[in-house]
Symmetry: C2
Subunit: 143 residues, 2 copies
DNA sequence: ATTGACTCTTTAGCCGACTATAGGGTTTAC
DNA sequence: GTAAACCCTATAGTCGGCTAAAGAGTCAAT
């Protein structure tokens, strides 16, 4: 089978183009995330260019903390009556909310830490060079 | 040993107060994250109240995406000359930067998604109720 | 026709952070 | 004094997301 002229990829081509390993692509298939268009007599997987887009979608979603289970759920809706958009949106809103909480918490944590650092720097040199002081202050106060 | 009057906890007490399971506490000890003050004749672990603060510190750091290895590194500095504050600060800045990147990406992703959702909603009812269309648009365009 | 690069399946291993289980000792309350 | 509730160690299992290895078939170029 010609894998360049008529835009059909073998798994190695797809791996190179998507920067995802062959093993990972087979793993994704085992989860139902991607499906080859054809499985000819030689038993090789052949993919359409759309699969490349699909893999990039998976990678993008993953980079945004979507689990493969989340992605499975989104893709599973292809076979139901519901539009995946509402689920994607719901999941996305959850992720964004979680991220926002985290970043707020991280900012607060950092501010606390800076306070402690300043407190430590006002301790006489001998004492402030003792790491147990910073450690102790951090451990006790950051809770 | 009296575990209430003189402020010494057994592992179960510590577990209840910190909301961390007994098994997890023993696991933390195996990583050197916490150390009991005493290991009396009965071989039971006994903890000072400071350990509770320490566990809460670990949990807080974890909730901010610090790995136990990160926390190990921070705590390890107790035994070296360097103040843990600078490492905590470095790790924290890395986490915050990562989170900020993620949230920016998530916001952009959400905006893209909303655009696609709107695009789908302008497709005639029969077509827009076909989930493969939203799926397809998402898969192709969100990369 | 052979070599090397590719492909296939199946199975096993890895990492982090736990959780569970087995088998046994200790403490505490009644 | 006995039974429940606690503690101990050591080992194994779980989950997610892969990666690696074994053993075998296929394809393309020379």
């Amino acid at each position: 089978m010609n894998t360049t002229a008529n835009q059909v990829f073998k798994i190695g081509d797809l791996a190179k183009r998507s920067q995802v390993s062959v093993g990972t692509l087979r793993y994704y298939e085992s989860l139902g995330l991607i499906v080859p268009i054809d499985r000819a007599a030689n038993n090789y997987r052949y993919y359409s260019p759309e699969t490349l887009q699909q893999v990039q979608f998976i990678k993008k979603a993953q980079s945004l903390n979507f689990s493969l289970a989340d992605i499975q759920n989104i893709l599973k809706l292809r076979s139901t009556g519901e539009s995946p958009c509402s689920l994607v949106d719901k999941l996305l809103n959850e992720k964004i909310e979680h991220l926002e909480q985290q970043i707020q918490s991280a900012i607060a944590f950092k501010e606390e830490l800076e306070t402690f650092r300043d407190r430590v720097s006002n301790i006489p040199p001998t004492a402030s060079s003792d790491p147990t002081i910073c450690q102790h202050i951090s451990a006790v106060s950051l809770t």
